[in-house]
Amino acid sequence: MTRIGRWLPALVALTLPLWLSTYHLHVAIMAGIFGVLALSLNLLLGYTGQLSLGHAAFFGIGAYTSALLTLRLEWSFWPALAAAMALAGAAGWFVGRLSLKLRGAYFVLVTISFAGVISLVSVNWIELTNGPLGLPGVPAPELGPWSLRTKSAYYYLVLAAVALCYAVCRRLVNSRIGRAFVALRENEPLAESVGVEVTHYLVVAAVVSAAMAGLGGSLYAHYTRFVSPEVFLFTYTVTMVIMVVAGGKGTLAGPLVGAVLFTVLPETLRAVASWQWQMLAYGLLLVLLLFFLPRGIVPQISAYIAGRPRSDPGARAPSP
């Protein structure tokens, strides 16, 4: 990518609060939170090839942990955020150890079931979670003497989280661990034959991915100031999958592009069409995207700019 191509999005992102309305800033914050979630799912789906269809569980665990710790134990935001990441990461470890020995379809099933169980717990453990009524009044974060209550301040908090997650993903996928992820995605028995410990690396991916989703959950809880069992809805996971696949799985920028596109798009459609037409347009766009850009937006555009489909020696030629 050219220097301008690299710095222009950063410049735009940094100056958004200066030229966006409050409503549009809200959309940008949600895009940022979904960006964190999409980056987290991409580690599993894009780099190791394992599909987590219960990713909303890690998101929800992060949201509830942070909300409960700040509401019930009056923790401040930052330790609650760390705890949310730790607990979601621990859940990722548990699910990973449980299912990644079997992998593939079994991993998909276990993640779906795990999300279902956690969702039921959130509905039925009323003493802790307040059941379907949820937890209102989650406090806004504070940074020293400043409250991050305003949209602009929260936007920068989310932006920092996106940047952090991007940096972590970048560092990880360029490390030996990331190369092991790719080797496992490409050909697991072959990777194993050259010394890659399958379960170990897949569990590492699951833990980092879940912790990142927990971060997204905590940011969501303290932004909307309300957490209910809806955070475990399957639609959240589906949205994340769409963002990753349409943006370009197995790339670093793809999930972010997908997150922005599929957060902005429903909001735009809402202004011009009724709900049914929105869904129809949404579905049509998805079909067109997969038809014309089967490898995802970012890989296809990168290939177009480079003039040849596969130019980076270390990178994977994105798969359909």
């Binding site: 490390s175 030996r176 190369r179 790719v182 050259v194 596969r310 020696p313 270390g314 030629a317």
Partner: protein
Amino acid sequence: MLAVRDLAVRFGGVAALDGVSFAVRPGSITSVIGPNGAGKTTAFNAITGYLRPTGGRVTYDGAPLTGLRPAAIARRGVVRTFQRTSVFPSLHLRGTAVLLAVLAGRRRLAGEESRLAADAAALIEFVGLGHRRRETASGLSYGEQRLVELAVALAARPRVLLLDEPGAGMSAAEKVGVSRLIRKIREQDVTVLLVEHDMRMVMGISDTVIVLNGGRVIAEGAPAEIQAHPDVIRAYLGTSRGPA
């Protein structure tokens, strides 16, 4: 030295390996041959941890390999290729080699990427695919993919390399090339153990030939001895029954 002692693998009531013992001399090229179903690939799978044997043990330089996972065995220097072509399909050759060089490295990655890339390029040249380095593995011919497999295995820096039918599906000319490559690998102090059906290739490159039949070792020796061994001839050609 890679040593196999009384190795047994049973699938239900079928004994795929029934007490197989042999040793692979360091620095040698040893071939395992036998009719279909003799247990050759099963032996490879049991040695490299892809199959848990029901009896016996495998040791390398005295240390037991039995019960270890494939990755752990590979890290001890015992690396294999597969009978069916097995590559990283959507990676370029160069990317594949760099990936493997990185994985094979034991030290920190920072600062060594360029050296690893150079190692990777040398590896691709070594197997004779330098001119194809920009291709993805899935875009190569079958014979070239087998060479990629060899490069993949070599990137893991093996001390013992187990090749499962490296010449399968190749033309006669390609087999000559592979034989030359296997000799070059041996010259780099890598012990080679291979399963192969092509007798011309086996007899041309092997120091020792081990013959399996029905899950047992029926003969072991130099190629010339094996060619004349009556049990081997019987295993391959059958026995003639006298007139009734």
